[in-house]
């Protein structure tokens, strides 16, 4: 159980508060894991009363909470929620906030512990943090703590990430800074380490001797929806690969940490980031495919091309799909490619990691086992979190016919309870001071260093690689299939 504290959400009138943060806190309370003295203060520009804010949140929890809304529980929960109206740039507003937090410490016994959640655009970070420091809220009293949670994007390239990190670290120490990547809060992402290091059967095989290659896929049928302007400035590579997918890659590729403290785990992840083979412009042209969805159909409905979406440049060169072949240059992963793909408007949604093992020698069965396929261990991050293992089995009967069968583990059904939402786990960890599932500064900057080389090859090259169109509802451009075909491999079927 974390210590009592006050959670201050900057940008409290935004979508994230209603869809994720408050439902997550409510669910933690419903599970009995929230300290009784916890308070929540929403900080935003819009005029609102405590009552009005609570009423809006009640509706949001009813809609977005995985456990639904229990009226009795909500009544006790909403007493802890307050609204604080202020401009982000108004120092006086922060002074009032400091006074209000003092009052809450007295009234609700929150003991001077503060967790500041910056659910705002990165451009607002500097101003908010500066004001927090100006009124002394970045410093905790003796025996208390003050922490900050920063939402992605952590910059748009290495220089901006360094600058942003500097802004944050000027005000909060790195150990009190929690960079949230919600993928790391997902149950299956956390289970990667357990799967690898708590089972003796996998780790001995987890290297170049037995693994042929690894595929990491994040597919979604949605288009850019209302996020056209944001997406135009980011694209799939920055939006998904730099953070979520490289984090997953690190969990799969890292060496066992010496213990489970935050820094031990993050030290090992950083080593993977550093081992990513830097790409030359020629490598980018050869090993990276960028695509953009054209008009097509998803689930039987016609959908627009990316360039026809709301507030998107009709000549846009922004990628909505990326497939890349990544090498981790260390002993464990020598010559084992990691194929990473992410895309919008793909036929099916899901994030999965597939460990594809080398084929067994087929000589015993006088046939090529590649015809039936290799062993594949699939870690499903979302939806339907779980793990499956494809093995070969003999079909019953007189003849020797080998067929693939799948052993499947579903979190939902095996443990008889739904997995907590990623934000529940991450908020609890931040309140408890456990930063294991949060990205450290050097991880973020290392990832940008790798990604920047690709971005530069695309945007600062007189002859940039082509942007390949793909119809919405397909599994990406044919060039992405060719990326694996030329290595004698294929994307797995999701």
């Amino acid at each position: 159980m974390p210590q009592p504290c006050t959670v201050v959400i900057f940008g409290a009138s935004g979508d994230l508060t209603y869809r994720k943060l408050i439902p997550a806190l409510y669910n933690i309370a419903a599970d009995g894991d929230l300290p009784a003295a916890l308070s929540v203060v929403g900080f935003a520009r819009r005029e609102k009363t405590d009552e009005g804010f609570r009423q809006e949140l009640r509706e949001a929890v009813g809609k977005f909470s995985r456990q639904g809304l229990n009226a009795e529980l909500w009544e006790s929960f909403e007493d802890r929620i307050f609204y604080h109206r202020s401009e982000f740039s108004d120092l006086e507003g922060y002074q009032r906030l400091a006074e209000r937090l003092e009052e809450l410490d007295q009234d609700r016994n929150t003991q001077g512990n503060r967790l500041f959640y910056l659910s705002v655009a990165p451009s607002e970070f500097g101003g908010i943090l500066e004001k927090l420091a100006a009124v002394g809220l970045n410093k905790a009293k003796e025996g208390s703590w003050a922490r900050v949670i920063v939402e992605k994007p952590f910059g748009t390239d290495l220089p901006s990430a360094e600058s942003l990190n500097q802004v944050v670290n000027d005000v909060f120490r790195e150990k009190d800074t929690y960079r949230i990547d919600h993928y790391l809060g997902k149950e299956t992402a956390q289970n990667i380490m357990v799967l690898r290091f708590a089972n003796s059967i996998f780790e001995p095989l987890w290297n170049h001797r037995y693994i042929d290659h690894i595929q990491i896929t994040a597919a979604e049928p949605l288009g850019v929806e209302a996020r056209g302007p944001y997406y135009e400035s980011s694209g799939a590579l920055r939006d998904m690969v730099q953070n979520h997918l490289l984090q997953l890659l690190c969990l799969v590729a890292m060496e066992p940490p010496t213990d489970l403290t935050a820094d031990s785990v993050r030290d090992e992840k950083v080593k993977v980031v550093r081992a990513l083979r830097a790409m030359t412009p020629e490598d980018v042209a050869h090993d990276v495919v960028r695509g953009q969805y054209a008009a097509g159909s998803i689930n039987g409905k016609e959908v627009l091309a990316y360039r026809a979406e709301d507030r998107v440049d009709p000549q846009s060169m922004t990628e909505t799909y990326v497939a890349l072949k990544v090498h981790v240059d260390n002993w464990r992963w020598a010559d084992v490619p990691f194929y990473v793909r992410v895309g919008k408007r793909l036929p099916k949604g899901g994030t999965e990691i597939a460990i594809q093992f080398k084929n067994a020698p087929g000589v015993l069965f006088n046939k090529d086992t590649s015809a039936v396929g290799p062993n594949v261990l699939v870690i499903r991050i979302q939806p339907d979190e779980g793990i499956s293992l494809r093995i070969q089995a003999k079909r019953p009967g007189a003849s020797l016919r080998v067929e693939p069968v799948k052993m499947d583990f579903h979190y939902g059904t095996s443990f008889g309870k739904a997995s907590p939402e990623a934000y529940e786990r991450l908020l609890l960890d931040a309140m408890s001071g456990d930063a294991t599932l949060f990205a450290r500064r050097d991880e973020v900057e290392g990832a940008w260093k790798f990604i920047d080389l690709i971005e530069q090859a695309w945007h600062q090259n007189p002859k940039p690689p082509a942007l390949c169109p793909y119809p919405a509802g397909s599994w990406g451009p044919p060039e992405a299939d060719a990326l694996l075909e030329r290595d004698g491999r294929a994307w797995r079927r999701m």
């Binding site: 689930n299 039987g300 099916k348 499956s388 509802g473």
Partner: protein, 351 residues
């Protein structure tokens, strides 16, 4: 106006984008009483809304023997308004031990109006991941075929007996597969139909003494039901291919081959009421083999005449030629069907 179907048999209507979620709910409601099982994705494509009820019945029977995720696709081009509807269902059967219900999912889609080009995407987005995809295509292949269909198909099942123009259909299919660079395996139920008679014939030549008959073979006569000429041609193609015979000429129902030793062998095909293949007889100057199906029985009566007036009789299983049996044979069989492709090569030249 939408096509009329018995949606009760198809199960719960669901939104296309919610199929995965609804299936999950279905199993959660079950509370672990049943075991969900799947070895393959088995997709069935049929034309007309009416095909969906019959295919659901068939899938119920198939899932009793072979665990799969069944994906039923009905295509009804007539309604002017394009519409795609979906249902989910489960076929549950008691395990052999009788203690546990084994259940297979069925996802049904009805594509109405001008929606055929969406079939591949929707089908492929609802597969049980990492399992092979078998596609049973009922009836004729349309021209042009959506080559994308073959992208993920491992085994394509069809019945060349039902085609009006088999020569054109084979050419269309092969060209489409070539264009798509697919490595799918062709599985012709018309070939499966002759499985038991081929096994019965081959089995007789496990005896070394009988092999002399093949070396001196003079005539082969095949009795087939009207409408089953392609079945008979595939059987003839198999015999010719396995014996390395070369086609010389075709005169009406007589096919003239030459053996590697230079012997002339005449194959005669006789349309006769009865089973698809009711009899196959191989004759040499001194011996003969006759495999004949009982008119209403489940066995082949086999009679072997050898020099010295020696006659042997055997009774061998003839299997069933019901669609469900043929499909089960095909799903449970496997292999790359190299012998079929050899037989098909010869049969195609006779079409």
């Amino acid at each position: 106006m939408s096509a009329t179907i018995d949606s009760a048999a198809l199960g719960i209507p669901v939104e296309l984008g919610q199929i995965g979620r609804e299936l999950k709910k279905l199993w959660e409601r079950d509370g672990g009483v049943s075991t969900r099982a799947s070895l393959i994705n088995f997709a069935v494509y049929g034309e007309g809304a009416g095909s969906m009820d019959a295919n659901t019945q068939l899938l119920m029977e198939l899932t009793r023997h072979h665990a799969c995720r069944a994906l039923l696709v009905g295509y009804a081009p007539e309604p002017p308004q394009p519409q795609i509807r979906a249902w989910i269902n489960a076929h549950c059967h008691l395990s052999r031990a009788g203690a546990k219900q084994i259940c297979c999912e069925q996802i049904s889609f009805l594509f109405e109006g001008d929606t055929s080009r969406r079939i591949a995407n929707i089908l492929f987005s609802n597969l049980d991941s990492d399992l092979p995809l078998y596609l049973w295509w009922q009836g004729e292949f349309p021209e042009p075929i959506d080559d994308q269909l073959w992208a993920w198909v491992d085994r394509l099942i069809f019945d060349s007996q039902s085609w009006q123009n088999p020569k054109a259909q084979f050419a269309l299919l092969k060209e489409s597969i070539r264009r798509s660079r697919s490595r799918l395996i062709l599985c012709d139920l018309n070939w499966t139909r002759s499985l038991h008679i081929r096994q019965a014939i081959a089995q007789m030549f496990d005896h070394a003494e009988n092999l002399a008959m093949l070396r001196e073979l003079e005539t082969v006569s095949i009795l087939h039901a009207p409408g089953y000429e392609t079945t008979a041609l595939l059987l003839a193609g198999w015999l010719a291919g396995q014996l390395r015979l070369q086609l010389q000429e075709r005169a009406d129902a007589t096919l003239c081959f030459q053996s590697p030793e230079g012997n002339k062998i005449a194959f005669q095909l006789h349309p006769t009421d009865g089973r698809s293949i009711s009899r196959c007889e191989l004759r040499s100057r001194t011996s003969s083999l006759r495999v004949e199906r009982d008119s209403d029985g489940d066995f082949f009566r086999v009679e072997v005449h050898l020099p010295g007036d020696r006659i042997y009789h055997h009774l061998l299983p003839a299997g069933s030629n019901s669609t469900a049996s043929l499909l089960l044979e095909e799903i449970g069989g496997g292999g790359r069907h190299r012998v079929y492709l050899k037989a098909l090569g010869i049969a195609e030249s006779l079409l």
